[in-house]
Subunit: 142 residues, 2 copies
DNA sequence: AAACTTTACTTGATATGTCAATTATTTCAA
DNA sequence: TTGAAATAATTGACATATCAAGTAAAGTTT
């Protein structure tokens, strides 16, 4: 138990790191020039079309600064456009372009495959317990 | 279940991110000018005095390039010294300095507190299950 | 309305993550 | 024993993480 205390955080870290590498590799293999984080940001904007950058950063657990920079890159890549919100000129309205929508649609299937591969051999009950443990850690660190 | 599939990776990501921020904040509050990653690297060298950088990167789940840079910073901070290994001139021997040893000793207690705070309200059995789920994910992504 | 506070976003600095290319050294094989 | 392959570490380029400081706009107080 004392030992596991040490190790659980290593395994959390290790698992998410390997999963990200795994997922990124799959995207690359399919010829997609987009990062996991960029994909996540577009996905969230599509699902929440009126979201602000500030709300977005809470949703994807990222710093405002990171979100600003990811959005910059997505705009450069023509997956996104932004426009000042006339209701509140501090904010921006974020528009996913046609090509942004398309890449999300194409990548979707790979993401589902990645997740299911990564969770192979894990049953619903233990997954549920693992998830609850993670949620407790999240609460404790807030 | 379908939904949880989607969410487990978010919670893994979220939990490790919050834990790192939490741990880093505690270090800062106690006046330590060292990052979690730097601490981990010194700790591993102390526990494996003959370790190479290559072995080190496997141990801490980091890229060789990251380890090189972390070691550079630790040398600048006088916590570490390196010396070419005469047995194999491609390798280095890594020496933790007195002041490196000292900071590890001082930080140790805070790290233990952080872990136990982060795991509050989680019992041994569910922790064991969570750990086994993470190990399966790690295997699946290798 | 003017001053103050808060909010949304950006930018700079530094650390780390990831991949690819490079250098130096060693090992292996013909 | 020499030439090819493998290994250890570094470096460059770019993406992201984190904190702090800064700018602009909106909201609040008096």
């Amino acid at each position: 138990m004392e030992k596991l205390n040490n190790i659980i955080f290593y395994n959390i870290d290790h698992s998410i790191r390997l999963y990200r590498m795994y997922a990124q590799k799959k995207l690359r293999e399919h010829g997609f020039k987009i990062t996991i984080d960029q994909w996540l940001v577009i996905k969230c904007i599509l699902e929440n079309p009126t979201i602000t950058q500030h709300e977005l950063s809470a949703l994807v657990f990222k710093d405002n600064a990171s979100v600003t920079r990811i959005i910059d890159l997505l705009i450069k890549a023509k997956y996104l456009e932004k426009e000042i919100n006339p209701e509140d000129r501090r904010k921006f309205m974020l528009h996913v372009t046609k090509s942004g929508e398309e890449i999300i649609k194409k990548v979707q299937e790979i993401v589902l495959q990645n997740r299911s591969n990564a969770l192979k051999g894990i049953d619903a009950k233990e997954l549920e317990i693992a998830d609850s443990v993670l949620r407790k850690i999240i609460q404790n660190c807030k």
